[in-house]
């Protein structure tokens, strides 16, 4: 079986000098958890595209209202219900930005020419003549604000509650779990409606209404993870070294929960946006003149047949936001979930 294609010179059989220290060398570059996770996210094209889309939407939500010459709250009844018209794009016939609209009988009219309006309303105007462009971005801004705030509060309460409940266990856990069961036993909508009636509808009251039950799922996930982690040997090791409870929670448990927390928060943001829109749509949400994507859709819905663009634009924005957040969350779950690691 031993065959030699080539002659091997004798000096090749002298002992080799092996550097003992190299045997312990690690050739892989040192990557921490987040760098490693980033490598994984980067491979997920959907998540990256979504990340760019969300980035764009957030920027637009911040600067969008000031890009337009018109204030989002300024009413101009003379300019009511104008269709979208954009400079330069108005001459491209297949784009809906030429300022015309089709009537029920099939006639195409141009309200801008009829009313002799020089201004360009990029997304048109609503029934009160307010600029839709600035209103849509203002609405996005408020929707995102409510969602981020709600998700953040959910996170803080949920993580604290879940971690305490799971870590201390026993009676503490028993009592805290009963509280959660009672809370999740009451239908969500009932609590929210009661909250809105008690508090005046507004950004804060909606946020509070969203968070009052929203943290429960976070708390449950965190509790389950803590129950698993607290018996891991590295936590036991820390206990044998004499670490305090606070140290164990902050140094050992929370860093290992970070992935789960982020994933859960990322999923709760689109949920909050959607729930807020739903509340606005059924009339429990923000009141005029405040605009959120939900109220915009609600208003647009009333004039849907005559002026579809009034509903279409905010509906597209909210859909894109929802899809993008869900895709990012999905990508993060694949990247951060310890079970997916090899």
């Amino acid at each position: 079986m031993a065959q030699f294609d080539e002659k091997i010179s004798k000096d090749q059989f002298e002992p080799a000098i092996i550097d003992a220290s190299t045997s312990e060398r690690i050739s892989k570059p040192s990557l921490n958890y987040w760098q490693d996770a980033w490598l994984r996210v980067r491979k997920n094209k959907g998540a990256i595209v979504s990340l760019v889309v969300i980035g764009f939407l957030i920027i637009m939500a911040l600067i969008g209202p000031s890009l337009s010459k018109f204030d989002s709250n300024k009413q101009n009844t003379k300019h009511a219900n104008l269709p979208p018209r954009i400079e330069a794009l108005e001459n491209i016939s297949w784009l809906p930005f030429d300022g015309t609209r089709t009537l029920k009988n099939g006639n195409v009219v141009n309200p801008y020419e009829q009313k002799q309006i020089e201004e360009y309303y990029w997304f048109g105007t609503d029934a009160l003549g307010r600029d839709q462009f600035s209103r849509v971005w203002k609405g996005t801004q408020i929707s995102l604000y409510i969602a981020f705030l709600a998700a953040f509060i959910d996170m803080v309460i949920g993580v604290t509650f879940g971690a305490v409940s799971g870590y201390f266990g026993g009676r503490v856990d028993n009592i805290m779990q009963r509280i959660i069961e009672v809370l999740s036993g009451i239908p969500n909508l009932v609590i929210v409606i009661l909250m809105i009636i008690v508090l005046k509808p507004g950004i804060i009251s909606i946020t509070v209404a969203l968070t009052i039950t929203g943290w429960v799922s976070m708390a449950r996930v965190i509790r389950a993870q803590v129950l698993k982690l607290k018996n891991q040997e590295f936590v036991l090791a820390s206990r044998t070294l004499g670490a305090s409870h606070a140290k164990i929670i902050f140094k050992h448990l929370l860093p290992n929960l970070a992935g789960v927390i982020i994933i859960n928060t990322m999923f709760s943001i689109p949920n909050a946006i959607f729930f807020e829109a739903f509340l606005s749509f059924i009339g429990l949400g923000l009141q005029d003149p405040l605009a959120s994507l939900g109220t915009l859709i609600d208003e647009g819905f009333r004039a849907m047949i005559a002026f579809p663009y009034q509903m279409l634009v905010p509906a597209i924005v909210i859909s894109v936001v929802m899809i993008a957040f869900n895709m990012i969350a999905d990508g993060l779950r694949d990247a951060l979930d310890p079970k997916m690691r090899d």
Binding site: S21, E24, S30, Q232, F234, A237, R239, T240, L241, G242
Partner: protein
Amino acid sequence: METKKKLLEIRNLKQYFNIGKPNEVRAVDGISFDIYEGETLGLVGESGCGKSTTGRTIIRLYDATDGEVLYDGVNVHGKKSKEELKSFNHKMQMIFQDPYASLNPRMKVSDVIAEGMDIHGLAKTKEERMNKVYELLETVGLNKEHANRYPHEFSGGQRQRIGIARALAVDPDFIIADEPISALDVSIQAQVVNLMKKLQKEKGLTYLFIAHDLSMVKYISDRIGVMYFGKLVELAPAEELYNNPKHPYTQSLLSAIPLPDPISERSRKRKTYDPKMHNYQADETVELREVSPGHFVLCSEKEFAQYKK
């Protein structure tokens, strides 16, 4: 052996779980033994026999149901002040079984090792802390470059050595090694065992070595205790236990270990153990009795007479 100082005395230690419920488990059911300074006591038995629970109860990871653990004459269990607890944690350390679960994946190796030093304030400055970490890494056969890496970049054997360095960081006298090699590859086990022996010689450590691999235990231990269902059934010097096992369970356990020797394997006769074979009567007291100097067996009066022959 008699002149040696007792470092640890375990007296009638009991650890029950789910007390009073139908699923009560008597994981450790009244065991007593001493550990002398500088020796290695091996504790063997099959899964579920309570050997790991014994280790964890000794170091207070569980609160003992009953009994006491005297360290240098002082009881470790019961209500203790923070200072007292810290001093126990200082003297007593533990090495864990699973090298993949025993290091926090989010901490750098330097922080893992320095954790004990941070808790006990053993390093005054950052520089001193890092120097100590480097020193410990070298002690366990790793080097400086490893300090800034994360646990998942290491192999099982390397991780286990990091776990040892973490335990050594607080300069303990007594280390409980809870199956430290059973998750490692054969070629790596010897490295870890050699390291533990070297450290024992250099630092005068005392070990409680918990394992189910009997040939390694025999090699590293001075004395060996065999556990069966929460009870210590036999305790003897390592040589004596292997050459002259008295308790039928020990005999069955010894006959079951396959040896890396095909010739002796071919002629191996296995013994089985059935607890009913003792046929203890209600009025017999079954306790640990010394059949020959240093050799204890769990037996009744009648068996005792037999074993002594």
